[in-house]
Amino acid sequence: MAAPPDLSIVMLQHPEREHFRYIVLFIAALLFGFYAAIQFRNNTFQLTNPLKWIMAVLFVLAFAEMIWEFSHHYLYPEGLKKWTDEGKNADDFVKSYDNIHVIIPGATGRLIQFSIVMWLAIRLYQLRKVKIWSPVLTCLIGLMGIISATVILVTEMHLPKGFEFLFLFFIPGIPFILLYWTGVALLTREKLPHN
């Protein structure tokens, strides 16, 4: 949408904008789920038990958190409308809607997502399916994402002054850009003689 969501009462004039934003993220989450399912079915990561099952469970948790988070935010305009219809102040809605019970699973989900995306890039490098730039780039951004999610979890989204930039690494699209770069690394790796 090339702009952050407008969480004010103005959103109710165009709820379709936020709906579309989260429909796109849903599609990305489905692609992620599809990708993970193919890899585990084909055992592309060449894992043995119990690591294979541990990673599969982490992928499922990451996927489940995405679906839950995107559903929650997809329904934001409807929640805001109900809130204002009850005569409450629209400015107070965001704190009520994205409360600590949403922040905890959201940040935990982000920790899992960044961890598995980093693991994925490292594993693919070990298997010589991507070049070194892929895990380096993924781990640099992924670590920032992990720091961001941890600080958000600890401070309950009240980032200390000067650390607001960490919000940038908390937006839902960041794990997807890391996956995109992994896709670029996979598709641009030259064929090795033994493959």
Partner: protein
């Protein structure tokens, strides 16, 4: 050597591709006065379909020259879509 340089340039281009395309699409954002939501959805759909089609044709034509089974790359690659949300 020339192949190696070309491949490196392609990687650089693809790394920045979402941001370059995002800047172009941003002109049509419905948050800007006068732009419609329908046009934005249409443009985003066309861009995504075009990328998907190009990817499909490349894999169909050059599938054998990939180092890795191509099943993993495209879904991961297409997650670029989410960056324009």
């Amino acid at each position: 050597m020339a192949k190696q340089i070309l491949r490196t340039l392609l990687v650089f281009f693809l790394i920045f591709f979402p941001f370059l395309t995002g800047n172009l699409i941003a002109k049509f954002t419905p948050y800007k006065e006068g732009n419609s939501m329908t046009s934005y959805v249409l443009i985003l759909t066309l861009v995504t379909l075009a990328i998907g089609l190009i990817l499909f044709l490349i894999i169909r034509r050059y599938g054998q020259s990939f180092n890795t089974p191509v099943s993993g790359g495209p879904p991961s690659f297409l997650s670029v879509l989410s960056l324009w949300e």
